[in-house]
Subunit: 208 residues, 2 copies
DNA sequence: GTCTATACGGTGATAGAC
DNA sequence: GTCTATCACCGTATAGAC
């Protein structure tokens, strides 16, 4: 056994390298050679640990999809928070996640559109539970004084507002900030407050 | 010359086939063979009309990116409409565009993330004009009683709310409607009214 | 477990006949 | 312009030595 933990075991090195490459390039764009280089090993060893490119990809994708659906349902069901607090909490957590993993939205969207069945395949293993989700919608519906359908659209709109600024980074950065990435990052940092405000104001404006 | 217009010329056939394949599979996932089959010609002819896969792709992408940015700026500058009317008009036109081209959002997002420079490359040729866009923001800022920055976020949020339901179709369809595509399509049809209402209510809720 | 060498199929691109 | 045949390369995957 190696002395200290600076030396990672090979499997971890592969997983980390594969994550970087797959998330950036996608399944179709990624090359096993590039993953091997990134992990500082050779191609053959990739196939020794994971039998095929597909299998290695699936291992990565499962983990990433899992982190794409954060564990926020318990908070949304909490009886000790107002719906305003819940919205703020959700938006802040979700955008923070993407600030830490900026490529996650584009990656998940790309792969899920490449192979739409992949999402059904992993639905159970990721933090998604349709039953719980409907429970959340019912609770929020009561708290907000909106119909179930309105809550559904509201949720999708909130999630959209969090995800798109990351998934569409090249467009936003270029079109809105003429390529100035400092301004784009500033925009992202302001985003948490704005989106939460936006949603809350919309509920207010609707119910008066 | 052929009798009636049922027979299209080869270039058009290629272009239509390439559009279908590239939009669905992306540059990396698409195969020249598949495009040839789709166009009912052989691979060699593809290279005769367009020298390379890359060139053929660029031709398609330019057109698609162009339609991704609809010509809505004149309307947004119109002095004869309230900002509410402008928002409704924008959202309806934009969502209608995606109802007609459901794969457009996922396609543009995928390719723009694959190669972020591609957007700068075509910025002039697509219907985007940063100067005009800033003019729009200024006008809306006055009409809505919001700061320029708030209008910026508002625009991004509105666009997000229109695009994401299409770009994230596999996720939404599976997670929210358990794979029931009829319910998903129903959701999309309701979306125009909801998004416009949502934005307008938010402005109202903010300024009271 | 880790490496080098290689097999094998697929893919973009071209040559050349018609 | 359109076709068939073919090339050259690249990418996944495996064999086999250590």
């Amino acid at each position: 056994m190696k002395s200290n933990k600076i030396e990672k075991d090979t499997e971890s090195k592969i997983l980390e390298a594969a994550k970087r490459v797959f998330v950036q390039k996608g399944l179709d764009g990624a090359r096993m050679q590039e993953i091997a280089d990134e992990a500082r090993i050779n191609k053959a060893l990739l196939h020794y640990y994971f039998r095929s490119k597909e299998k290695l990809f699936m291992t990565i994708f499962k983990v990433e999809l899992n982190s794409f659906f954060p564990r926020l349902i318990p908070v949304l069901l909490s009886p000790d928070m107002t719906h305003e607090q819940k919205i703020r909490h959700f938006v802040e957590e979700y955008i923070d996640l993407f600030l830490k993993n900026p490529f996650l939205p584009a990656f998940v969207l790309r792969e899920v559109n490449r192979n739409p069945q992949i999402i059904a395949q992993f639905i159970g293993e990721s933090g998604i539970d349709s039953r719980k989700l409907k429970e959340v919608m019912k609770v929020l519906s009561n708290e907000m004084g909106l119909s179930l359908n309105e809550v559904l659209h509201l949720m999708v709109t909130t999630v959209s507002a969090c995800i798109f600024p990351f998934a569409g980074k090249p467009i936003i950065e270029q079109v809105l900030f003429e390529g100035n990435s400092t301004e784009y990052n500033q925009f992202l940092r302001e985003r948490k407050k704005f989106v939460a405000d936006f949603v809350i104001f919309s509920i207010k404006g609707r119910t008066i």
